[in-house]
Symmetry: C2
Subunit: 352 residues, 2 copies
DNA sequence: TTTCCCCTTGCATGCGTATGCAATAAGGAA
DNA sequence: TTCCTTATTGCATACGCATGCAAGGGGAAA
């Protein structure tokens, strides 16, 4: 029963007594084929266990129906959630995901450059450790590229989908100030990432606008262990903060754990902690983390939308989409006196 | 600069003044080519931005260098960790991962069957919701298949890599008994999954061997929300357990959160909780979850090993690998009087 | 110088499928 | 019945690359 040589359209054609092209047409939606012949061919295909070779098809059609997705650091729950949603959405419209994981350290570009050799129809770059140069290179070779949760510095024509990092961070600043905090800290993500840059800028600018001193900034590198170290720096110092904004949930959970279990602090009584992304663990009772939500479903839908639009018209103007989020209020930060509303089952903060 | 028609080996050959086959040989390791010509060709390739078309190459070599990986439910941190390790390991030896996500509900087989049309060189099935029929079908078409963290009921010749679910669960039973627990409960995973079957069997058999009554069993479906409901069933009952073994960490975290925050229980004073997998959050101070570790790195390495072995020799005998784990002891379960040892930085339990 | 051998390189072909074109069949209108 | 239209199907080719085969070339050994 074990097929050593895979069944080809030729084999099916022979068995059904038709030509190979007839077989091909039976598997091509919209092609002209008589019902009677189609039935014969399908019966033959079934009995042989024929499966069209998508590799060969791709060679002709110049469409692989494969989308490359580059990711790094799946320990941050945000990315598995994104990946699952993206894969589902793409599978639903007949595409598959070719996964590229970026190594933690070192230059990921060389290995990722292999993507293009697989003739992917499109590319989603969701790793902060990938250079903008790579994105530009992909665009140059005519492959639609969408940056996910990341943007390029100058508008170089690369499409992107991201949350509103700057506004979100600014809202967090306002929320903390309204909650009466005065000694703020920021646990930063990767220094050269656009998300960190935007979140830090939004946070600092908003604090300044409220007349507060700049926050103390410590590096967390979007990493759990580094964030623990950052927490130690903050909480063991002579002047510990009364509120910490962490550039993502993944670090916020580490900081919260460190605050409680290594430094004997109560959250939010002694220190308020806020994250970014609103990943699943944020809502777990152990953490009850107040966090600015990134609308994963919408971001994924937008990403797929950009890809299909560009596949349909390669010359469509590049768009940089920024999707709004909401500050989901839970128990990890002192509450301001007003502005809390409940919407779609979540408690969110909407000032004024 | 935007290349509409991609650069082919023909284009490079023309520019370098050689034949297309010469170009091909320059990109084929081990092929015969004079250094001088190779240099000319590489220069031409570089100036044109040539990238060999792996789709076309696959058609000839009948090797796509793509491994299909079928997963479901990435919310359980175990799987992102596996996926990342698997992708890294495969990329390191020149393979890429084509990802298939199984929908939560319904039959995943039809969509997954598409995998074979992509001519994957191998297949890793790590979703409990995939039928054994699918695995058999893949094997029949000559594609190496490895079941990951799952086995087939009868030894039907499908290769698999899994942790020692039965022994691990038995060890957990012994650990809890040694810790003085008497009223045990089991939060089950998906009923028809091999991991759940083995863990439940090992747990119950060991309890019986220790002369204890069978544990109370509630369904958790490997799902966070279902596990919360299971916890409510257990803790709100008239006879709450003094120890709960959850079929994986993902559910254990939910159960622990529910115990503490919904039912006012102290862990481990009022109830001991043990998980399975030893995922990253288990070691976070908030949980400090005692858990039977699955050796992800070794399991991934073994999986890759099985794949490459089978690629080299399709007729090699199928092997079902079971890798040993260890009971990593933390603070979520009362400690037995003896048997605790520290090894490689982890505290583990090794009876007698 | 001759002979032999090996290293290079081009030619030709094929991988499995899609598709333009032409040929044939079928059916309808006049 | 005849002619035209439309649907169906086969033929031939191309997609981009790898590879067996043969031819050419250069060097070493005799």
């Amino acid at each position: 029963m074990s097929q050593r040589r895979p069944v080809t359209a030729q084999d099916v054609a022979r068995l059904a007594g038709v030509s190979q092209s007839a077989v091909s047409r039976c598997f091509t939606p919209g092609a002209s084929a008589a019902p009677q012949m189609r039935e014969r061919v399908e019966a033959a295909a079934r009995s042989l266990g024929y499966r069209p070779n998508l590799i060969a098809r791709s060679l002709i059609t110049r469409r692989s129906r494969i989308i490359g997705v580059a990711l790094g650091y799946l320990h941050n729950q945000f990315y598995p959630a994104v990946l699952e949603a993206l894969s589902e959405a793409l599978q639903a419209i007949g595409y598959q995901v070719l996964l590229f994981t970026a190594p933690q350290e070192g230059d990921a570009d060389p290995r990722i450059a292999d993507i293009l050799r697989y003739q992917v129809d499109g590319l989603v770059l969701a790793s902060a450790s990938l250079s903008s140069r790579l994105a530009a290179e992909c665009r140059a070779s005519g492959v639609p590229v969408v940056l996910f949760n990341r943007t390029t510095a100058g508008d170089d024509g690369t499409e992107s989908v991201s949350g509103d990092n700057e506004a979100g961070a600014a809202m967090i600043a306002a929320f903390l100030v309204a909650g009466g905090h005065r000694r703020l800290a920021y646990v930063a993500g990767l220094e050269n990432s656009s998300t960190n840059r935007d979140r830090q800028r939004g946070f600092c600018a908003a604090l300044a606008a409220h007349g507060l001193a700049p926050p103390r900034i410590v590096a967390g590198g979007y990493d759990h262990t580094q964030a623990q170290r950052a927490a130690a720096l903050l909480f063991a110092s002579g002047d510990p903060p009364d509120a910490v904004f962490c550039a993502n949930d993944h670090m916020a959970l580490a900081v919260m754990d460190a605050a409680r279990h290594s430094h004997g602090l109560r959250v939010p009584d002694d220190v308020s902690i806020i994250g970014f992304d609103d990943t699943a663990p944020a809502s777990w009772p152990s953490f009850s983390l107040t966090s600015f939500s990134q609308p994963v479903a919408e971001m994924v839908a937008a990403t797929v939308g950009l890809l299909v639009a560009r596949l349909a018209d390669p010359d469509a103007p590049a768009r940089q989409l920024v999707l709004p989020g909401a500050l989901v209020v839970r128990g990890s930060a002192r509450l301001p006196a007003r502005g809390l509303v409940t919407e779609a089952g979540r408690r969110i903060w909407r000032p004024q």
